[in-house]
């Protein structure tokens, strides 16, 4: 089963993503900020990160920069944010995101990207 790490400080958003992803057959783990995400990602590999931007302690950019600096497998990262400004998109890409989506992300839309990024064929 493909494993996805959802990084978001809002429990509601984490649950929202978990519901969508688990229903689609993925294993989901959560982290409440960049630090916890680092800990989890270094402990066990994931196939994809879904990352929020604004978080306490270590934000989404920080997490991506840190994780991209590690010599580990580098799964794709989806950055999800409410800031619909291309500045943020640029920052997200620079930090190490692979696609930038704007909240609220519709379940279908999110899954479309995830399937592609996990190289899964659509049936």
């Amino acid at each position: 089963m493909k494993r996805i790490l959802v990084v978001d400080d809002a429990a509601t958003v984490r649950l929202y993503h978990r519901n969508i992803l688990e229903a689609a057959g993925y294993a989901v783990d959560e982290a409440v900020n960049g630090i916890e995400a680092m800990e989890k990602a270094l402990q066990t590999p994931f196939d994809l990160y879904v990352v929020d931007i604004n978080m306490p302690k270590l934000d989404g950019y920080g997490f991506l920069r840190e994780i991209r600096s590690q010599e580990i497998a580098q799964p794709p990262a989806i950055m999800v944010s409410t800031e619909a400004e291309s500045n943020d998109r640029h920052r997200a890409y620079r930090a190490g995101a692979n696609i930038y989506l704007i909240k609220p992300v519709k379940p279908d839309g999110l899954l479309t990207y995830i399937r592609l990024l996990l190289a899964e064929e659509r049936t």
Binding site: N19, R68, A73, Q74, I99, L116, L117, A119
Partner: protein, 877 residues
């Protein structure tokens, strides 16, 4: 209610507490960046959460709050007290909505729209108009069309071809062509807006349409006061003009500049069928070899041969026009020729969306949406690879981009490209630059789609390799990593569930209590002594477990008093500002814990005390200065725990309570008579504030002079078996001390008997049990009394108090069983028939119609299944 919504509500409350707290902190320290950032984050996250649901009112207000805080954070707007006031108001509103959603099972009433608008506007006012103008209109317009918000292109084919062609010419000559989408607020009618008129004001409109945003609901449910329309228009007006027109509602306007080519849509009678296949081949061949003159001539010939009303003639006309006006736009020309062959409308996309769905992908494997997402991801990787190579984490970024590209290629079935991708990645990592990967991307997924499909023949051997890669990657990621999942360490549990558990444990305690009865029945009734003994042994074990369980659940129910304390910063701030006083609030011991019921019962009395203190205790700065005190008053609320009691002290350094004034007031109000007035000590006089109907304020203020006084505080505290005391020194301040039990779930009661019925009396009120000889009873002032340990104790018969028509039952020595209880610091003797044992019970408050009976504090089940009514001597006597 679904779990997601529950989670949202519970988290929203946490955020709202956090926001209020941060606002208070910000008020004390307006320049603090960490506090500001945290505050922004909380509002931002809460807004994001609300966006997952359909709570437009909530989202609107939070969005405005977020924008305002963003402006403050950036220094565009300065901090002010008004800002805090308005934000607090807004958060109160959000809190109200949260409550409503919870009680209304997930719905918000429709009557909040107005308030939401008003609040959002009051917040936005603080940002000021300048903030809106800061955004460069054109730049925003192009950003709006960012990858994920591709506009639904209007059905331009509806425009007459002639007009479109004229427009196309003009647009190429320099006129910008803008697609305008105007989405009025749903509640716009309430704001006096006229969306239709507004839409009609759009200048230089070429094409316009009005569509419902969502499917219309059934006529019966249709809300005519909600605007469900979206207005689309195509205009050649300058963006500045449009922004001027929509200056009050810029957020409702979306402007997307369109490339002129989108107008090129063939239109006509499709009956002629597509153009011949060899025309397409011929035309594409000429295009590829750059034989533009040849292309133009074959197109012209074909056009002459076809009836002008045919679809394909229209396509040819467009092709010729494009050849004339945009000879270099091979992409457009190719697309038009291909559409002639397929008789389908060419799909033009907006410029930013060079992101264009690769239509070849669409089929069994890919839906439209997949293809679009695919193009999106490719475009994103292109941007990523185009970033500067200077970042230290470049290798990680390249790796990730390559992984994303590989995954996409694989999902698209384009596995033939994978080995070259790996090679490109290796090269890129080697040279620490993105260029090799970018080159690969250009070669395999060029912006121009002419170089797509590669030879399919190579695919077969690659398939094997691809399978190998799959296996490898599966192994890598397939480790049973789920095993090491670490769950959250704290659980949030619904209060109802805890209460339910508490009730169950209460029942178990009761059931357990039936075992001793059973044991004695085994012994006495059935004559099996051994069995009785064994039951007793077993009872001891069950009893121990039950007690531990009770203890454990008590721990779960414990909550910190900060639950109550956290509302004080706001309360004190608001109140003192209203009264024009300066007050420093000091909170101590917020982490002291007590049972949930106790903490909750504490809230109202504490608020009352604090209000009193601010209203009557602490003086205005002028008065304080005159008295030689610092202008700002001090109010301390301190919680401590000693043994099984929690103490809460509320002290202020205000003017204190003047016993003389209290005495006079009490006399005037008829609470005491003249002789009492002279006899009372100062401390006793101060305690008169607890007497019913006492209010000392010289002027009745709207804060605390509502006719309820400290007597309400006292009865609320006593309800949970607490006590309240007051010390005051004139001119120095007042100290109010509440003493509360840690928990009120288990009550130790003494069982007494009267007229063959049993009643419980809480043990913490019982002073002693005595048997009073009838001869020792004297009648003083028409009341029966006796002297116990040198004190006169009034005697009251329980039968009389409960209106039971029976004489007290005396024993052989003509003594009456008397239970001495402490009521309001006075000793009272209650004459009963007999005393029984004491038991631990779970007291259940009286509910329903008997809930109004003041003389009882509740009922409990006894081990034998009978109900014990527990008396409340304070009310009874």
């Amino acid at each position: 209610m679904n779990p997601l919504l529950e989670q949202f509500l519970s988290e929203a409350r946490d955020f709202l507490h956090g926001i209020a707290e941060k606002l208070m902190q910000l008020e004390n320290d307006p320049g603090s960046t960490p506090v500001m950032n945290e505050l922004f984050r909380l509002v931002h996250t809460l807004k994001g959460n609300s966006g997952l649901f359909e709570f437009p009112e909530m989202t609107r207000v939070l969005h405005a709050g977020e924008d305002l805080l963003d402006a403050v954070r950036d220094g565009r707007v300065g901090y002010s007290q008004e800002l805090t006031d308005r934000l607090l108001d807004a958060m109160d509103f959000v809190n109200l909505l949260v409550d409503e959603i919870e009680s209304n099972d997930g719905a918000i009433g429709s009557d909040h729209a107005q308030n939401a608008l008003r609040l959002a506007e009051s917040l936005r006012q603080l940002i000021g108009v300048t903030a809106v103008e800061v955004k460069a209109p054109v730049a925003e317009a192009s950003q709006a069309s960012s990858v994920h918000n591709m506009p639904e292109l209007p059905r331009l084919a509806e425009l007459p071809e002639q007009q479109r062609m004229a427009l196309y010419r003009e647009a190429l000559a320099g006129d910008t062509l803008l697609f305008v989408e105007y989405t009025p607020e749903q509640e716009c009618f309430f704001k006096g807006e006229d969306p239709f008129h507004q839409a009609r004001q759009i200048p230089d409109v070429v094409w316009q349409s009005v569509l419902p945003r969502e499917p219309w609901s059934a006529p019966a449910e249709l809300d005519a006061y909600h605007c469900n329309l979206v207005f689309n228009a195509l205009t050649t007006a300058a963006p500045e003009e449009l922004y001027e027109l929509f200056r009050y509602t810029p957020e409702q306007l979306r402007i997307v500049p369109l490339p002129p080519i989108v107008l090129a849509l063939p239109h006509g009678d499709p009956n002629g069928g597509p153009v011949y296949g060899d025309f397409v081949t011929d035309a594409l061949g000429r295009l590829d070899t750059g034989d533009m003159a040849g292309l133009e001539s074959v197109a012209r010939t074909m056009l002459e041969l076809s009836s002008p009303s045919l679809w394909l003639s229209s396509g040819l006309r467009w092709l010729l026009l494009v050849l004339e006006l945009e000879p270099g736009n091979r992409y457009a020309q190719r697309t038009l020729i291909e559409s002639l062959g397929s008789l389908t409308l060419p799909v033009w996309t907006t410029p930013e969306t060079a992101v264009e769905a690769d239509s070849e992908l669409v089929g069994e494997r890919f839906s439209e949406a997949d293809a679009r997402a695919f193009a999106d991801i490719l475009q994103a990787q292109r941007e990523i690879l185009g970033l500067p190579d200077s970042d230290a984490w470049l290798p990680g970024r390249l790796n990730a981009a390559a992984t994303a590209l590989a995954a996409c290629q694989r999902s698209a079935g384009r596995i033939e490209a994978l080995p070259t991708l790996e090679a490109a990645l290796a090269e890129a990592l080697d040279s620490v630059e993105a260029a090799p990967l970018l080159a690969w991307l250009d070669a395999h997924a060029p912006l121009d789609r002419s170089a797509t499909a590669e030879s399919e023949a190579e695919a077969a051997p690659m398939q094997v390799r691809n399978a190998l890669i799959d296996v490898e990657s599966d192994n890598k990621f397939g480790r049973r990593v789920e095993d090491s999942y670490v769950g959250p360490k704290t659980l949030k549990v619904d209060q109802d569930k805890i209460d339910n558990l508490m009730g169950l444990i209460g029942e178990m305690v009761v059931a357990k209590n039936s075992l001793p009865y059973l044991a004695s029945r085994a012994e006495t009734q059935y004559g099996v002594r051994e069995l009785g003994r064994e039951i007793k042994t077993q009872y001891a074990v069950i009893n121990r477990i039950a007690e531990e369980m009770q203890d454990a659940i008590m721990q779960v129910r414990m909550m910190p008093v900060s639950f109550v304390f956290q509302r004080f910063p706001r309360l004190v701030r608001d109140t003192s500002r209203k009264l024009a006083k300066e007050v420093n609030l000091i909170l101590e011991g917020e982490n002291t814990e007590a049972d949930k019921n106790i903490v909750e019962a504490l809230a109202d009395p504490l608020i009352h005390i604090v209000r009193n203190s601010l209203d009557h205790g602490i003086e205005t700065p002028e008065v304080r200065r005159a008295a030689g005190k610092p202008p700002a008053g001090r109010l301390t609320i301190r919680a401590t725990q000693e043994a099984d009691r929690v103490y809460i002290e509320i002290s202020d350094d205000g003017k204190g309570i003047d016993p003389t004034i209290i005495k006079r007031k009490a006399y005037e109000k008829g609470i005491i008579d003249e002789s009492t007035m002279e006899r009372l000590s100062d401390q006793e006089a101060v305690n008169l504030v607890f007497a019913a109907g006492f209010s000392t304020a010289e002027v009745i203020s709207d804060l605390s002079g509502r006719g309820v006084g400290m007597d309400v505080v006292r009865s609320a505290v006593e309800k949970v078996n607490g006590t309240v005391s007051l010390e005051s020194e004139l001119g120095k301040g007042t100290l109010i001390r509440l003493s509360l039990p840690l928990s009120m779930a288990v009550t130790n009661v003494m069982i007494v008997e009267s007229d063959k019925q049993i009643f419980g009396v809480p043990m913490d009120m019982v002073v002693e049990t005595v048997r009073v000889s009838r001869s020792a009873i004297r009648t003083i002032k028409k009341r029966q009394t006796t002297v116990l340990r040198g004190r006169i104790v009034p005697l009251l018969a329980l039968n009389e108090l409960l209106a039971i028509d029976a004489e007290p039952y005396a024993n052989e020595d003509d003594e009456l069983a008397t239970l001495v209880v402490r009521v309001h610091e006075e000793h009272v003797g209650i004459v009963v028939d007999d005393f029984r044992e004491t038991v631990d019970i779970i007291l259940k408050p009286m509910a329903g119609i008997i809930g109004g009976l003041g003389g009882y504090s509740g009922s409990a089940l006894l081990g034998d299944g009978s109900v014990l009514m527990v008396l409340n001597p304070r009310e009874l006597v």
